[in-house]
Structure formats: structure tokens, C-alpha cells
Symmetry: C2
Subunit: 202 residues, 2 copies
């Protein structure tokens, strides 16, 4: 049985969101199961790397905005969020995702898609537990049990453990893909990921 | 007449070198003139960005090595240099390049190719003026006039002006491509650059 395609993303990373729209289809095309993993880019990974938020890095910050707008034009996509709106805190979304994922990975993926859609296509602030619970309840999650998971600290522990695992694997950006032990960083690596899947690697 | 394809690179950047092997053919295919511009990634740009050498950034540094080796395997290429050898100082190469470029851009491109080949395929240290002069003399440059350009400070002034120009354009990495005013960063953007050239942009 072929290994998973593991997809890592931060809920508030636009390039992660754009990858999320394509990654399941890519995995399916090559008979791979696609496992989703939320991570915390700004809150955790960039601190480990000693970097400021990417949008604040001189030259690169501006370029990322140009690159994002170009991708949207090319793929005829729009987003309800702009950089000027400022990001939501992604911790509640990450906790909910990993609490659900520990019980039902397929439901966790549906919940993640609902959160991403609310944030990027409806402009919803996903920074509060209540906002996240409402969204994932709409995707089929048990809101009462999830609230208990927040209250007990279990959701927090699961998110922390997941972030530690992804760091140990070397995941340092969003999106990030792991296939057959091989790391691929960035939305623009999806064509290379496809070549890897098609060819069996090189 | 279509605009140039402007190609920016640091002599000691492996990804810049790998792009240099493909960029002329890419421009020719779409009837663009390819102009080469050497820049100083570690010495100048990363300081403006507030970043350490990329290979020293936790997680990312290791990934870049994996990504480079994978590219080499995929394209059946080898390099005579490894990270363990340590980089040469690229200032002499940059000064020579821009001194020649101010007089004869086509010769500057040939000189750059000779320097890149010496560094990446023969493992030559290009850190000294003498090493660089010897290499570019082999490519047809006037060694005596170039030495005078070093001695007078003209080569230094030309390099500094070029670095300032590239920073003003937002060039922050190697390789970097500017086409029709549109910036593209990274070796993995060459397919997108080709799509831009083929489609007229989007």
C-alpha cells in the first residue's frame, strides 16, 4: 500500500489555503491517501527559525503579496481576506482540528476545509473558540464534546504535540508536503510533487 | 521589441548557478534578450532583510541542502563544490562582471559563465582578484584593463551601483527574474516564467 501524502498547513497562511484546494485531487490521482496536518507557522515555526513574520521581512514581504495576487489572477480565484484586515489567531482552529483529528481524521479534514473556507472566502474571524466551534459543528463535529476538549486542555495538548512532531520532521513552512520521507516546501512545489508521484521519485 | 528577461544571480548561490544553465535558452525560445546581473545575496541583500545566511537558518538550511541534491539527481547534474568546502567571497567576481558589463554585456555574460563553471564545476576558489582575472581573461576579457579597473576603484563602484539598483527593484534572492516589470524569485519559478512568456502574462 503506498504511503500517505502528508500535507501541512497553517490556517492563516494564504499559500497553505491555496494548496488545500488542490492537494486532495493530486493525491487521489496517484492513489495516495492525503493526510492533513495543521501547524503554527508564525506562532511556533518562525520563532524556532529566528525569523519575523514573513510579511514583515524587507523585500520578501512585498514580493509575497505580488506573488499571491499573481497566483489568484492566474487561477481566477478571489479571497475575502486582504493583508490589511490582519490575521486571526490560528490557535483555536488548530486545537479544534487536532482534537477532531485524534478521533476522526476524515471529519477533521472536513472541519479544516470549513474553517479555511470561512476564513478565506467569507472573511470570518476564526480567532475565538466559539467561532471555530460554530464552524466545525456545521461540518459535523460534536460541539459539546469539542468544548469539553477545549476546557480540559486536551485540545491544547494535542495541538502542541502535533506542532512538535511537525518541527521534528523539519516542516518549516505552509504549505509543506511529505511524501515517501521526502520534504517539499511551498505552493510552487506542487508540480514537482506531482512529478515525484508520477515517476516514483528520483 | 519585447522587453528583456533580466536574470539576477549571486556567483556563489547554487540555485543561481543552476538557473544560469537554463535561462538563456528560455529567453531565446520566446524571442527575449536575456540580460545577466550579478548581485550579492549574503553580503548585501540578506543584511537588508535582517536574515542570517540561509544555510544557517534552522530547518530551512537543512531543507535547502535536500532540495539542491534532489534537483541535481533529477537533472543528472553534479557539482564540484559541497557546502563543507565553504563559499568563496563573491566580491571580486561581481566587480569583474560589472566592470566588463559596463563595456560589453555579451562578454560579461561569457565571463560570468566562465566564473560559474570554474567555481561550480572545477571547485576553483574565486575569492581573489587574480583568480577572477585569470578566469575571465580565458573568456576574452582584457586582463590588463580589468586590473586597472580594480585598482582605480571603478569595478567596486560599478558593483555597488548594481547592487543598489537590484535592491531598489526588489531583487532579494538568487536566482531572481524580472520580466515586463514582474518579479519571480527562485529556481522553481522558471516554469512559471515560461508560462508568463508563452501566455503574455496574466
Amino acid at each position: 500500500m503506498p504511503a500517505n501524502l502528508d500535507f501541512y498547513f497553517d490556517f492563516i497562511s494564504p499559500f497553505g489555503y491555496l494548496a488545500s484546494l488542490r492537494v486532495d485531487e493530486l493525491a487521489r490521482k496517484y492513489g495516495r491517501e492525503c493526510r492533513w496536518h495543521s501547524m503554527l507557522l508564525g506562532i511556533s515555526v518562525l520563532k524556532v527559525m529566528g525569523l519575523p513574520p514573513l510579511t514583515q521581512i524587507p523585500l520578501k514581504g512585498e514580493y509575497l503579496g505580488v506573488d499571491l495576487k499573481r497566483y489568484l489572477r492566474r487561477h481566477k480565484l478571489t479571497l475575502a481576506r486582504s493583508r490589511e484586515m490582519g490575521p486571526s489567531n490560528p490557535i483555536a482552529a488548530g486545537r479544534a482540528f487536532h482534537w477532531i483529528d485524534a478521533r476522526d481524521p476524515a471529519l477533521a479534514k472536513s472541519a479544516a476545509k470549513a474553517i479555511l473556507n470561512a476564513y478565506w472566502q467569507q472573511g470570518t474571524d476564526i480567532g475565538s473558540v466559539e467561532a471555530v466551534v460554530t464552524i466545525v459543528e456545521g461540518a459535523g463535529a460534536d460541539a459539546r464534546a469539542l468544548r469539553a476538549g477545549f476546557a480540559s486542555g486536551e485540545a491544547d495538548r494535542l495541538l502542541r504535540a502535533a506542532v512538535d512532531r511537525s518541527l521534528a520532521l523539519g516542516v518549516f513552512g505552509s504549505p509543506f508536503f511529505m511524501i515517501d520521507g521526502e520534504p517539499f516546501f511551498g505552493l510552487e512545489k506542487m508540480e514537482l510533487v506531482e512529478e515525484w508521484l508520477a515517476s516514483g521519485g528520483w
